[in-house]
Each structure stands twice: as structure tokens, then as C-alpha cells.
């Protein structure tokens, strides 16, 4: 369970003995992991290993599934996000999420990106600024800048997904969670999203769940391997992919990454 040597005090996000239990069986058991600022950690593992549950525990989205119990904690900049006094609404502002399928709202591109900002009634100038900044960061700006009022549904799949990223970025989170963001996209769109991720990892913390080990190799700094709800191994990407130590990791990597 050794992570990269990052002093816990400096981690933006620190997962501490996190367990998620369903009625009959544990989905996650005792996962501990720290995320330093400005990095991309890929979370990989066979299907059913709990990686989606893991990432959804990082912004309290796991609470939406009835019947699950969360033990342990997750610290965001030193604060316990599962503290009873903390409302999930605030957690999710700081820790954004992008889903598997592009989930643009049926509104204009601009309104999609501005969604999070409108909730707190920022001024129009603030919103304008934040929207264009977010669209730039997600790499979509050049493609939509001429007509921000067009319906988001008229964009291609890859563009929609980058719009979802922009939408999450607009509220300036420190952490962005991505749950298999390219699994519904064609190779060209995938490549664009991966380019965006590579740029973003210089700015904020990214946590990427992916079943595509090649993708992990391309974009991540660090790979965490989960198996049956346990964190088996974590380390710099090259280390894990070329010199995996645990036999389970070996089995997974060689099976997937020829």
C-alpha cells in the first residue's frame, strides 16, 4: 500500500482507510491514497473491482445509491468531506466530476458552461470570463467561440464531453474526477480529450478511472490498481506498467497490455 512519497499534509485530497459496504458484501475495503496537487492518477482494475464506487466516494456521489455505508474518510485540503456538518453541495463544487457518457444539458453551450456559476449568482462579467476560461482550458474554445448560443446538443460526442469538462472546470475546482470519460467516444474524440487531460494535469488534480490501460499509459503520472475493493498497488506509471510487483497486478497488466 505504498504511495509516492508525498507528505500527507500537502495533499489536496487524502483518502484514509476508505471502505464502502453494501448490505451483504464490501465493495471497497480500507483504501488509503493521497493525491498531490497537479497530477493525474489513473485508477484501473478488472470490472467489478470497485473503481467507480471509489471515485464516486471522492465527491460524495456514492450517497446517491441507497443502501451503501461509507467508513473511513476523505480529506479535502485537510477537511473531512464526510463530516456531518458539511453539505455535499459544497464538496461537489470543489471536486468536480465528468461521467462516462457526455451529459450536456439541453441548453446552449454557454448556458451549460455557466450552469455552476449561475447557482451562486455570479455577475454577468464574472460568468463571461469564467466560461471562456473554462472552455479554453478544456480545449473547446476554438471550436465554439463563434457561436456560444448554439444548442449543446448540436455538438459532436467528443465536443460534448469537452463541454462537460469545461462545465465542471467553470467553478474552478481543485480536483476533477473522470469516470471513463472516453469510453463512449471514437478514437479521434478520445485523443482530443486525452490532450485536454494532459494539459489539465499541470493545473489541478485529476483522478481518472479507465479500463483502457493504454490510456493510463499515455496520460497518467501514477497508476493505482484496485482488485476486489482493495488497493493492491500504486506507483509511478512506468513502474506499475513495466515492473508490476504484485501477482494480481501482473496478471491484469499483462492480460490487458500487450
Amino acid at each position: 500500500m505504498s504511495g509516492a512519497p508525498v507528505p500527507p499534509a500537502a495533499s489536496v485530497l487524502s483518502v484514509q482507510h476508505l471502505s464502502v459496504l453494501a448490505k451483504d458484501r464490501p465493495i471497497l475495503s480500507g483504501v488509503s491514497l493521497d493525491f498531490a496537487g497537479r497530477s493525474l492518477t489513473a485508477v484501473v482494475g478488472p470490472s467489478g473491482c470497485g473503481k467507480t464506487t471509489f471515485i464516486r466516494s471522492l465527491n460524495r456521489m456514492v450517497e446517491l445509491t441507497p443502501g451503501l455505508r461509507v467508513e473511513g474518510t476523505v480529506l479535502y485540503v485537510g477537511q473531512d468531506i464526510y463530516d456531518p456538518h458539511v453539505n455535499p453541495v459544497l464538496v461537489r463544487r470543489r471536486i468536480g466530476m465528468v461521467f462516462q457518457r457526455p451529459t450536456v444539458f439541453p441548453m446552449s453551450v454557454f448556458e451549460n458552461a455557466a450552469f455552476g456559476l449561475r447557482l451562486v449568482h455570479e455577475s454577468e462579467e464574472e460568468i463571461d470570463k469564467a466560461v471562456s476560461e473554462a472552455l479554453r482550458r478544456s480545449g473547446l474554445w476554438d471550436e465554439v467561440k463563434d457561436d456560444l448560443d448554439r444548442s449543446a446538443l448540436s455538438l459532436s460526442g467528443g465536443q460534448q464531453q469537452r463541454l462537460c469538462i469545461a462545465r465542471a472546470l467553470a467553478v474552478r475546482p481543485r480536483v476533477l474526477l473522470l469516470d471513463e470519460p472516453t469510453s463512449a467516444l471514437d478514437p479521434a474524440a478520445t485523443q482530443r480529450v486525452e490532450a485536454t487531460m494532459q494539459r489539465l494535469k499541470e493545473e489541478i488534480v485529476l483522478v481518472l478511472v479507465t479500463h483502457n490501460v493504454g490510456q493510463a499509459a499515455r496520460v497518467s503520472d501514477r497508476v493505482a490498481f484496485l482488485h476486489s475493493g482493495r488497493l493492491v498497488e500504486v506507483g509511478p506509471t512506468a513502474d506499475i506498467l513495466e515492473r508490476p510487483r504484485d501477482p494480481l497486478t501482473v496478471q491484469f497488466i499483462t492480460g490487458r497490455f500487450e
Binding site: N59, M61, L64, P66, P88, V89, L90, R92, R93, G96, M97, F99, Q100, R101, T103, F105, P106, M107, F115, G116, R118, L119, C164, R167, A168, V171
Partner: protein, 350 residues
């Protein structure tokens, strides 16, 4: 589509293009005669609803065209005879056999159905949002069917309850209270009406309850149709449940909500027996919010007894039937355009 891809009766020497089918399923090639069998014959039962609608229109027109003596001539629907379609149409002198203006009932129907529509939409929206967003499945599993049960209470049973309990309660308690506190709004002050309570308020109350199952069901379906992903995306951006529902869920379900409005209105507009029991055959323009008024449906039902022997009276009531039918059909057609499927709506009495 390939015509010979399936084993079946061999193609005849004169191959006929296969008839089109609803989803392009492959068809075997058959003789010309079979084509008739496959298209014309099914048409016969399928046209039954059309035939019934035509028959209804025909029947109403014939009734309306009857003059004294019960001559049943179809197509004699020129609105001749006692009904005057000029300004006097909206006069309130409905006192057959001398005066015949039915406008008062058309107004009455709208006057009762429209507020009922708004109320049932508002309440239905609230219930639907509560059910889809705030309440756990363990509660909604039995609460939702409970609301649908409201539609199962027969109109007449509802009517006698309303007549015995709701109406007097309105007459004695609610109407005077409203008159006292809302009196500053024009039309809401003045005499609170009879203590037996018949009048607009209780009628609107009844119609609201009758339309409620439909509006609730349709709005609930519309809100449920929001994909889970979209809902979670809203929450993941830091929005509260209310904010997500308001900004994402409601716009997404707008079509279904609109159809709920139209169909709920249709229900309230055509409600007959419950209103008839409470209002009787009232036929005046109400002087204020609490006065009595008649609706088309209720009047048609309540006064038919008196019209049995009287051809002109009958013709008059039938003209009301035509107007009622026309409006209801129009509302239903518009409302249905927004609904994608009809699953389970029968439960709500639609």
C-alpha cells in the same frame, strides 16, 4: 428489404413487391389476393374507433337538428331554430321552452375547469417532484399508487360525498372566510353564497381532485424520464436537488408537463356527474366568486329528464353536446401530441 431471404411459400411467377410493414420486418412474397387479405381485412377492425367517432358526431347532429316531432334527418345541423348565435347567445336566460341561450354553460364550463387546471397542475407538480426527488423509494412505492387510486373512485360516489360534506363545509366555513379575507379582490367579496355551499369554489375543488391523478401521473412520468446521468451531472456541479430539478429536470420534462395540462383540462372540462350532483341544473351567471354556475356537462346530464318529450329542448342540449365534444376533442388531440406512450394511463381514468 430482401424479398426472398426467408423460407416460405415459393415466389409466384409474378412477384409482387412485399407490402410495407410497421417496422420493415421481412415478409414472404405472396399472391395479389393475399395482399388484399393483409391490408384490407385488418383495416376493418382497425377502423372501428373512426366509425364510432363518426357515429357520435352523426348522432349529435341529428339530435340537434331535430325539430319538434322527432324527425331524424341527418346533416340538418344548420343552427337554425331556437338557438340564437348572436350576442344573445351569451345571455343567461336559459329558461326553456322560451329562451334558449347556452352561452352561459360554455362560460361556466371554462370558469370551473380553468382554475381546476391550474390547481391540479400545481399540486400535481409538487407531488411529482416530491416523489421523484425527495422521497425514498420505500415511501413512493405505495404513495404513488395511492394517488392513482383517487382516479378509481367513481364520479357519482365522489359526488355524493361532495354534496354531503364538502359543499356544506365550503358554504358554512370556507366561502365566508374567503369572502372576508379576499374581499379586496374584485369579485371575491360580497355574499358568500348559500350555506349549502353550491357554487364555484366547491366545483373547482371537485374538478381539481378529479384532474389530479392525471396531472400527477403524467408529470411524474415526464420527470422520471430524465436520464440518471443528467440528474447526477447536475448534482455533481454542486446544485441542490431543487436546483437540479428546476434547471434540468423540469425543462427536460416540459413536453410531458404540457400534455398533463391539456389532458387534465379535458378531464375537468368533461366531468359530469359529480358536478351535477353538487350543482344541479343551475343556469345563471354567477355574480361573484361564490355564486352558482352551470357547466355544459352537468347541465346536459341533469336536464335530460325534462327533455325527453321535448324535441326542441333535446336539440338544444345536443348542441351543447356538440360544443362540449368539439372542445374536448381539440384539447385531447393537442394534449396527446406530447405524450409518447400510453402505458398505464388507464389507471388514471384516461
Amino acid at each position: 428489404m430482401s424479398t426472398t431471404a426467408v423460407p416460405g411459400p415459393p415466389a409466384e411467377s409474378q412477384p409482387v413487391p412485399p407490402p410495407s410493414s410497421p417496422d420493415g420486418a421481412p415478409r414472404t412474397v405472396r399472391r395479389r389476393g393475399a395482399w388484399i387479405l393483409h391490408t384490407i381485412v385488418p383495416l376493418v377492425p382497425a377502423l372501428v374507433p373512426v366509425a364510432i367517432v363518426v357515429a357520435i358526431v352523426f348522432a349529435l347532429l341529428s339530435l340537434a337538428g331535430m325539430s319538434i316531432g322527432l324527425s331524424l334527418t341527418p346533416f340538418s345541423f344548420r343552427f337554425r331554430g331556437p338557438v340564437n348565435f348572436g350576442w344573445a347567445f351569451f345571455g343567461s336566460d336559459f329558461a326553456p321552452p322560451y329562451h334558449w341561450e347556452i352561452g352561459v354553460f360554455i362560460v361556466g364550463s371554462f370558469l370551473t375547469a380553468i382554475p381546476a387546471l391550474f390547481l391540479s397542475m400545481a399540486i400535481g407538480l409538487g407531488i411529482a417532484i416530491a416523489s421523484t426527488t425527495y422521497l425514498p423509494r420505500s415511501l413512493t412505492a405505495w404513495l404513488d399508487p395511492f394517488v392513482d387510486l383517487l382516479a378509481g373512485i367513481p364520479s357519482v360516489v365522489f359526488g355524493i360525498w361532495a354534496y354531503a360534506y364538502a359543499a356544506p363545509y365550503f358554504g358554512v366555513t370556507i366561502n365566508p372566510w374567503l369572502s372576508m379575507h379576499l374581499g379586496f379582490i374584485p369579485g371575491f367579496g360580497g355574499s358568500p353564497g348559500l350555506p349549502t355551499g353550491e357554487g364555484l369554489p366547491v366545483t373547482i375543488f371537485i374538478l381539481t381532485l378529479m384532474a389530479l391523478p392525471i396531472t400527477t401521473l403524467l408529470i411524474r412520468d415526464a420527470l422520471r424520464s430524465l436520464p440518471r446521468d443528467l440528474w447526477e451531472s447536475g448534482l455533481a456541479l454542486g446544485a441542490t436537488r431543487w436546483e437540479t430539478m428546476r434547471r434540468v429536470g423540469l425543462p427536460h420534462g416540459m413536453r410531458g408537463i404540457l400534455s398533463a395540462g391539456f389532458l387534465g383540462f379535458g378531464r375537468a372540462f368533461g366531468e359530469t356527474v359529480a358536478v351535477a350532483i353538487v350543482l344541479g341544473g343551475a343556469s345563471r351567471y354567477p355574480t361573484n366568486f361564490y355564486g352558482e354556475t352551470g357547466t355544459m356537462a352537468a347541465t346536459m346530464f341533469a336536464l335530460l329528464d325534462s327533455a325527453y318529450g321535448n324535441g326542441q329542448f333535446l336539440a338544444l342540449l345536443s348542441e351543447m353536446a356538440i360544443v362540449l365534444l368539439a372542445i374536448t376533442l381539440a384539447v385531447n388531440i393537442v394534449g396527446r401530441r406530447f405524450v409518447s406512450s400510453f402505458v398505464g394511463y388507464e389507471i388514471a381514468g384516461m
